[in-house]
Amino acid sequence: MTIVGMTGDEAVAYAVKQSKVDIVAAYPITPQTIMVERFSKYVADGEAQTEYVCVESEHSALSACVGASLTGARVFTATASQGLALMHEMLYIASGLRCPIVMGVANRALSAPINIHGDHSDMMASRDCGWVQVYVENAQEAYDWTIQAFKLAEDRDVQLPVSVNLDGFILSHSMEGVDVLEDEAVSRFLRLRKPLFRLDPDKPITVGALCLPDYYFEFKRQQFEAMQNVSRVLENVNKQYRSFTGRNYGVLETFEMEDAEAAIICLGSTAGTARAVAQKLREQGKKVGVIKLWLYRPFPTEAIIAATKHLKALAVLDRAVSFGAPYGALCSDVVSVLHTMEERPKIFNVVYGLGGRDIQPSDIELVFNEALETAKTGVVKGETVFLGVRD
C-alpha cells in the first residue's frame, strides 16, 4: 500500500498517467487547471509517453480528442464550467461517434454572474449528452474512478465517453491521502484499448457521414442501448478493480439504509458530510440514512428503488438549479424512478451550495430533521427548499 498526499485534481492526473493514455488535449480552466498542469509536467519530465496537444479552446480540445479517439488511441481531457459549456456540441459528437474518451470535470458554477467555485450546474446542463457520468466524494474516489472509467468506456458493449466529476475546490484543491496502485497493477487491470473500428489509411472507413431521417434514429437507439449496458459492464469493472484494491465500488453507496425512515440522496463530496451527520443522529436513536450516487448517467433506477423501499421520507439534494423545472435535475430523476413504486417515500427537493456556498453539518442536520418530521407526519411542507440562501 502506498499513500500519497494529493489533491483531487492531482489524483486524476496521476491516474491518467498510470492509465497509459496516448493523447491528452485539454485547455486549463479553474478549478480543473491542476489536472492539466500536473499531467503536462509528467509529459515534460518523460514520466508519461503521451502526446500532449496544446489547443486554443475547450471546443478544440474535445475536437482533437474525438479525432484521436477514432484512430484507436486512449484519450483523456479535462475541463470545468464555461469550458464544458464551450465543449457542448462536441460532447454529443464524442458520444454519437462512440469515442470512449475519459474526461475529468472539476465541477464549477456557470456564469453569470461569474464565479469559480463548486456546484454541479456545468455537468447537469449536459446530462443528456450521451456521456456516462460519475460523481466522486473524495480524492481517493477521483483516482479510483478515473482508472475504472477507461475500462468502462472502452468496453465493446459500452464504447461511450465517461466524465468523472469532482466538486470544484472542495475536492479539486483539497489535499488528502490517496492509496495508489503500482504502475504495473494498473497496466494489468487496464489492458491496451482494442477498438472495434479505427481510422487507418490502409483500411479506409468513413466516420461522421450525413445521416438523414432514414438512418439517424437507429444510431440514437444504439446509443440508448449502450447506456443500458453500462450497469452490467460496470459491475464487472468494479469487481475486477476490487481484486486489485480491495475497494468496493458500484452504482451507488448506502449508509445505514436498512432500517432508515428518513434519508438524504446526493452526489459528490456532500455525501461525506451527510454520513457524518447521519452517524451522529443515529447515536441519538434517529433512523436516518444516506444514499450517494456514484453513477448519475445512466441513472441507477433499480438500485435506487431497492435502497428506498422501506423509506418514509427522502430529501434529494441538488447542487444545481433547473430554472422553470418542477425540481432540480437529480430530484426530477428520483421522482420519476420512484413513481412506479406503490408505496414510496415522501420526497422533497433541497437546492444547496450554488456558486460554492458552503454546506455545513448543521445545514445537513436541518435537512435530516425536516425529513424525519415528514416521515412522521407524512406531509411535505415545501416541495423545494433553498438551503442556505438569504431571504
Binding site: 461517434l97 464504447q159 479506409p204 466516420v207 438512418y215
Partner: protein, 96 residues
C-alpha cells in the same frame, strides 16, 4: 436511398454510423425525395444539351439522339424543363 433497398435496423448497423466500406457513397441513391419527375419526350428532344448543362445534379444522361434522366439522383427541381427550348421535358407528380 431507393425504396426497394433493404434498410438495416439498429441491431445490425455498424456502431457510431461508421461506414466500413470505402467508396460506398456510389451505392447511396439520393433521388428518393423527388416530388416531381421530369419526363423527356424523345420526339421533341433535339439533343441540344442545355438541360445537361443546367442540371445541378448531373442527372441528365446523354444518348445518341436524345437525353434521358437518371432517376437515382434526379431531385425533381425542374430546371431542365424550364430551360428546354423545345418544351420536350414535362414535370409530372410522383406517384407514391
Amino acid at each position: 436511398m431507393t425504396s426497394e433497398e433493404k434498410k438495416l435496423g439498429w441491431k445490425s448497423l455498424p456502431m457510431g454510423a461508421v461506414v466500413l466500406e470505402p467508396g460506398s457513397s456510389l451505392k447511396y441513391k439520393t433521388g428518393d425525395w423527388r416530388a416531381f419527375r421530369p419526363l423527356v419526350d424523345k420526339e421533341k428532344c433535339v439533343n441540344c444539351l442545355l438541360c445537361w448543362i443546367y442540371c445541378p445534379d448531373a442527372a441528365i444522361v446523354r444518348k445518341e439522339k436524345w437525353v434521358e434522366v437518371n432517376y437515382d439522383y434526379c431531385k425533381g427541381c425542374g430546371i431542365c424543363a424550364k430551360e428546354c427550348p423545345k418544351e420536350a421535358i414535362k414535370m409530372v407528380e410522383e406517384q407514391k
